[in-house]
């Protein structure tokens, strides 16, 4: 136990993201309403964004915009002063992907609602079985 607590404290960011991920995944698997599943999907994807961004973190680092003045491009940059830009770039892509997926999923949900007049999965399935 005495070893576990420093482990949690030192890496609490990962614990937080994993808890968020579990909430999202649970909603996606267990929820009955199709839009609630979508909300779960978004939580899941956001937790991954949190994870990647915390990979890029450096103690004492600032945003990766190089100060440029008179010596533009000629002074030496110490990478320790700036956070890692790569995970941020990757997550811009992941955000876009999650927005696009959400768009298509909402379009599908609208289509399903127009057809069955409900978004509860069990009601839709019951209606399909009754046919």
């Amino acid at each position: 136990m005495s070893e576990l607590i420093p482990l949690i404290v030192a890496k609490y960011n990962y614990w937080l993201y994993i808890i968020l991920m579990m909430i999202g995944l649970y909603a996606m698997i267990a929820k009955n309403n199709l839009v609630k599943k979508l909300v779960g999907m978004n939580i899941f994807q956001t937790s991954i964004i949190l994870f990647y961004v915390s990979i890029g973190c450096k103690k004492g680092g600032t945003i990766p915009i190089i100060h440029h003045g008179i010596h533009a491009g000629r002074h030496v940059v110490d990478p320790a002063h700036y956070v890692n830009p790569l995970p941020h770039v990757l997550m811009l892509t992941a955000i876009v992907v999650s927005v696009s997926t959400l768009g298509v999923a909402l379009a599908l949900a609208v289509k399903i609602y127009n057809r069955y007049k409900t978004l509860e999965e069990d009601e839709i399935l019951a209606r399909l079985r009754a046919k």
């Binding site: 267990a30 450096k58 103690k59 990766p64 990478p79 811009l92 379009a107 289509k111 127009n114």
Partner: protein, 274 residues
């Protein structure tokens, strides 16, 4: 389903937690992620691309190929929503018209669609009459929002921003018009055809710039070769290439946001929105 869900979720969570044991400490300066590939971006981005915002430099240049597909994903979503929802042939349902002079509302059920006239204006089913303040404030706001969006796109080299963010803000300005007035007003000003063409043109600009680089004798998306046509040195050519690409991204993102909103909010009919 619930117990199965809990088991799967706990299993996944436990696995992920177990793995964090081997991670380098959070924020460590000597972790592989901060020492292997990324220092090069921080140290050389300014020298190699003349873009102080390293995120922009990596996004649009070092990993520009990813970003091209990122824009393609957005484009897919726009086309996907369009193809799923858009209905072209529709039965004329209930329509409401308002006589502007007398403020009498007419309710037309079915039948043919009346021609446009200056005496009558078409109104939504859920129409609230007293929205003068909202309309005026939004109309005043829209140009400023658009100006800000252009600033965000253009200033992506030097500060947080760029094509995606700017494009979304541009899209929001038109969507604001659709919400504050009605969807038809927004579509009158920004027709569906223009919007769909812009959607394709934006990504086409991105891919096109990459292809021009091939035609000029370098690799795909290797902006250095653009120096031959832009009359700048190779490093500034990279910077300008990134800017061109960001404009393409901005156009597509704007058009897709508007298209998704219009199709989703009207369930594909594109007449009445929220």
């Amino acid at each position: 389903m619930k117990t199965a869900g809990i088991i799967i979720v706990l299993l996944a969570g436990a696995l992920l937690l177990y793995a964090t044991r081997d991670f380098p400490p959070w924020g460590a300066l000597d972790s592989p992620a901060s020492t292997h590939v990324s220092p090069r971006y921080l140290q050389k981005a300014m020298e190699e691309t003349a873009v102080p915002n390293v995120v922009t430099a990596v996004l649009a240049d070092y990993r520009g190929f990813d970003t091209m597909f990122e824009t393609t994903v957005i484009f897919c979503a726009g086309i996907g929503c369009f193809i799923l929802l858009r209905v072209f042939r529709q039965r004329p349902g209930d329509r409401y018209y308002r006589h502007i002079a007398t403020e009498i509302t007419l309710h037309i059920k079915g039948g043919r669609i009346p021609k446009k006239s200056s005496e009558f204006e078409r109104i939504d089913a859920l129409w609230t009459p007293y929205d003068l303040i909202i309309k005026t404030v939004c109309r005043i706001l829209v140009p400023f929002i658009q100006l800000f969006a252009l600033y965000v796109i253009a200033h992506g080299h030097h500060s947080p921003g760029g094509g995606f963010q700017g494009g979304v803000i541009l899209g929001a300005s038109v969507i604001l018009l659709a919400i504050s007035h009605n969807m038809r007003t927004a579509i009158d000003r920004f027709s569906e055809k223009t919007n769909n063409l812009l959607m394709a043109i934006g990504v086409f600009i991105y891919t096109g710039i990459g292809t021009v680089c091939i035609l000029l004798g370098a690799g795909f998306l290797d902006y250095r070769s653009l120096s031959a046509v832009l009359f700048v040195d190779k490093i500034m050519a990279r910077s300008h290439g990134i800017f061109g690409v960001e404009i393409g991204v901005g156009i597509t993102v704007m058009a897709v946001m508007i298209s998704i909103y219009n199709n989703l909010a009207s369930a594909g009919k594109q007449d009445e929105g929220l």
